[in-house]
């Protein structure tokens, strides 16, 4: 664990934030364990780590949404006990969330003053809730603040008409209006275009020059190196590194972020590719831009997928590595053609059918696709994988309800009827073969534990022996004993000639299973490795957006 002593810039003033031995547990999960770090006053500080590493939990405690179970937090040298975000603001700590807390249909002005409205003098005699808002005064104050910090925003525009970068400025202005000294930003560049990112960085540097302290939560290492003074690295709920940016490099940070733990013992031999080399799944130059529902023409929405191309052949597992939120979800949904009307898509997706013909994605509905040998293990098993109120017997046919072999003999072509015997048999088979517990197919699926739900979904898909499998986080929440089982089944499917596209935020899983590894960052494929060339350190680097090894510096 690399910890360089951090020199405080001004010995007289206490640091902006100090976490001392902070721990937080939820149920059986230790979200934060013995976290200690210091954020110097007037600095820009980075918090990095993968998803689930503990940085969000820690920050939520700084902001008053949670209380630490163990340990202390000091803000500006004073012990901080926050019971709500209002307390945090009062202490000068403000947070810009990843999902903006802005009402799209209201004006910028109204969004900024909400909860801290300046009151008109003449309404003095009225109770506080009924006093009129002094919008004129607010306008002056906000415009002045905007000018002082270089954060100009159009006060009368409706938020929904503004570009995301401008919306972020509004959020920052909200905090400054409330006299926040310490600003925390959660993944601020996730939704910004490169141009907007540059503007943001300029703003943040200006804020620092004015004496504010800034904490940035991010997984993008190049930004950390460009912007911050110090970095704290989280992994597995702990702080594994606390260094001055100047003295570290992207490689070192990446190494700390992904670590060296090897959890899985499965030894996977490289697969034999199918004899005919035409790919089962082929994605070409796919660019996807979210379609804005509202009006407003000066918005350049950021593409969620940029010129993505990949191919998966029968008999290989292609793993997509990357921190969650870099386009994996969107790629998954695009292949599945879910919610099409929300996207503007260019590029082509081809999935070859069972009879060898190639179907352009546009011509196939999700339904036809599912039925002609596409297995899907979705990202969000609760929302997308199962009907929680239904029994296992019914969930086993979810996605396959239109297939003839699930129907009873009395079905007529145009009025299909589900066969209770065949579905019961299928459910029993899945439950038994994939060790779903409890083993009662009539039990409501919401009553199963997360791991068993995952096994049910996995079993449902694999029992049909599909040709193409889209698998997202197949072992999330699954008990250790079943992990090897699931992985071996995937490999077995591959050996039978299936093409598997694997998405996972667990790098070990990717490295163990994949014949080829693609790395996604910011909506694009930024690297490709074979089983031989795959290298944890380099992949970690690419996951953080780095390309060439760099050392820290402004």
């Amino acid at each position: 664990m690399a910890v360089s002593p951090v020199k405080s810039t001004d010995n007289a003033l206490p640091p902006a934030i100090r976490c001392i031995g902070v721990s937080k547990t939820f149920g059986s999960t230790r979200a934060n364990e013995d976290v200690s770090f210091t954020v110097e006053r007037g600095s820009i500080h980075g918090l990095v780590g993968e998803n689930g590493a503990g940085k969000s939990t820690c920050v939520k405690m700084l902001y008053g949404l949670y209380r630490p179970d163990v340990g202390n937090i000091e803000i500006n040298g004073r012990k901080a006990i926050f019971s709500s975000s209002t307390d945090a603001i009062a202490a000068g700590v403000g947070m810009v969330h990843q999902h903006f807390m802005l009402s799209p249909t209201h004006s910028v002005l109204d969004n900024i003053v909400l909860g801290a409205e300046p009151l008109s003098g003449w309404s003095r005699f009225l109770p506080a809730a009924f006093r009129t808002i002094d919008r004129v005064g607010a306008r002056h104050a906000i415009t002045a603040a905007g000018k002082a910090y270089g954060l100009e925003v159009p006060l009368d525009a409706k938020v929904e008409t503004l570009a995301v970068g401008v919306q972020q400025r509004i959020e920052i202005l909200k905090l400054l209006y409330r006299k926040a000294q310490i600003l925390i930003l959660d993944e601020p560049t996730a939704v910004l275009t490169p141009a907007e990112t540059a503007v943001l960085f300029g703003n943040l540097r200006r804020l620092k020059a004015e004496g504010h302290t800034i904490v940035i939560i991010t997984h993008k290492l190049d930004e950390v190196l460009a912007l911050t003074d110090q970095v704290t690295v989280f992994r597995g709920g702990r702080v594994v590194g606390h260094v001055a940016t100047r003295e570290t490099s992207a490689e070192e940070l990446a190494g700390m972020m992904v670590g060296r733990s090897v959890k899985l013992s499965l030894e996977v031999v490289s697969g034999r590719l199918a004899q005919d080399s035409s790919p089962i799944l082929s994605v070409e130059h796919l660019t996807v831009v979210p379609r804005k529902v509202s009006t407003g023409d000066n918005t350049t929405a950021k593409p969620v997928l940029r010129d993505v191309s990949l191919a998966v052949r029968g008999g290989e597992i292609v793993g997509v590595a990357g921190v969650e939120g870099n386009g994996q979800r969107d790629l998954f949904d695009s292949i599945l053609q879910v919610d099409r009307h929300l996207w503007q898509t260019t590029g082509d997706i081809q999935i070859s059918g069972e009879d060898g013909t190639s179907g352009g994605r546009g011509r196939m509905t999700t339904a036809r696709l599912r039925q002609t040998s596409l297995g899907v293990i979705p990202f969000d098993r609760h929302r997308e994988g199962l009907l929680l109120e239904a029994s296992a017997r019914e969930n086993v046919i979810l996605g396959y309800q239109a297939l003839r072999d699930n129907h009873s003999k009395v079905s007529v072509g145009w009025f299909p009827v589900l066969g209770s015997r065949v579905t019961r048999e299928r459910a029993a088979k899945v439950v038994q073969e994939f060790d779903v517990r409890p083993g009662d197919p009539e039990l409501r699926s919401g009553a199963l534990s997360g791991g068993n739900q995952q096994k049910l979904i996995f079993g449902r898909e694999l029992v049909r022996d599909p040709r193409l499998i889209l698998a997202a986080n197949p072992i999330r929440g699954v008990d250790v004993g079943a992990i090897e089982f699931i992985h071996s089944r995937l490999v077995a499917a591959r050996d039978r000639g299936a093409a598997i596209l694997l998405f996972s935020s667990d790098l070990d899983e990717i490295l163990t299973l994949s014949d080829r590894v693609l790395v996604m960052y910011d909506g694009a494929v930024v690297g490709e490795f074979t089983r031989k060339t795959a290298d944890r350190a380099r992949i970690g680097l690419l996951m953080g957006g780095g390309v060439v090894a760099r050392s820290g510096g402004q």
């Binding site: 807390m101 209201h106 969004n111 909400l114 409205e117 809730a129 009129t132 808002i133």
Partner: protein, 292 residues
């Protein structure tokens, strides 16, 4: 059509739209805070009943009005507990309140008045004359100003659009919604009061006659904003007055009399068209119907 008839129709319009106006404003207050208010019909009926009851015994329409508002607040409190705190389904709970009103008002009426649920007639002197028109105009102005100028008005707007942001800003959304629902109930009940102690002279069972739902239509038509909604109420009142006048009358250039039903259903058809044309949810408060 002579001037006289036109004036009559206008006067009728004014009278008929005022109770609707109260109900519609009540609908706006609740719905802008994020709570669907199907129970307007019930609140109106409770208001009509208690206003009649108390005016009969006290002789003053103002006392009756206050009583109606109190009754509305009480029932609305029940509704608020059900939907805001117990997270009950808003449609079902609202329907229950309506049924409760339909059933309990004649029942209590039988006990109080002795007859089949209707109240005895109230003297002209004990009823409102023209005051409700002024009250109605005042109501719209106050709601409009309050919603757009005051702090609690802004909070209400956010409660219906982006309650997370409001909660983040330190305002308790559930408490706000509870208050909004209670105020909504009182206002709707006031509208109901005007039915029994102004528009007519007594309480009759079921006299709300669908006005609660008409008010909802007006709110949708007016896109949840006070002044357009008030205009929508005027429109509905106008069609009401018109169809009474036009029964059997022939419009110029038409040989057959215009079916009265066409005019009757016009406001509702128009609401559907408005909804369909403006892609449904485009104007509704975004958080409408979602429990906090």
């Amino acid at each position: 059509m002579t001037w006289e008839i036109l004036l009559q129709i206008l006067a009728s319009t004014a009278r008929m739209s005022i109770p609707l106006l109260f109900a519609a404003m009540a609908g706006i207050i609740a719905e802008r805070s994020g709570v669907i208010n199907i129970a307007l019909e019930g609140f109106i009926l409770f208001g009509a009943f208690f206003a009649a009851l108390v005016t009969l015994s006290s002789g003053s329409p103002w006392v009756g009005l206050v009583a109606a508002m109190l009754a509305g607040s009480l029932v609305a409190t029940l509704y608020a507990i059900l939907v805001v705190w117990l997270r009950a389904d808003q449609i079902v709970a609202g329907t229950a309140i309506n049924l409760l009103a339909f059933g309990s008002t004649p029942l209590i009426g039988k006990i109080a008045f002795g007859s089949g649920g209707s109240s005895p007639a109230i003297e002209l002197a004990d009823r409102f004359q023209y005051e409700p028109i002024i009250l109605g105009i005042l109501l719209v102005v106050i709601v409009h100003l309050w919603l757009h100028r005051t702090t609690s008005g802004l909070w209400l707007q956010f409660a219906g659009e982006h309650p997370e942001a409001l909660e983040c800003a330190g305002v308790k959304v559930r408490r706000l919604r509870t208050i909004a629902v209670i105020v909504s109930g009182a206002t709707a009940a006031a509208g109901g009061a005007l039915l029994s102690i102004w528009l007519s002279s007594s309480f009759a069972r079921g006299m709300s006659a669908g006005r609660g739902f008409m008010a909802l239509a007006a709110v949708v038509f007016g896109r949840w904003m006070p002044i357009p909604t008030a205009l929508a109420c005027l429109l509905f009142g106008f069609t009401d007055a018109l169809q009474m006048r036009l029964q059997g009358a022939t419009l110029p250039r038409m040989t057959e009399p215009l079916p009265v039903q066409v005019i009757q259903v016009l406001p509702y058809l128009a609401t559907i068209v408005v909804l369909a044309a403006f892609v449904g949810r485009a104007y509704a408060p975004r958080a409408l119907g979602r429990p906090a």
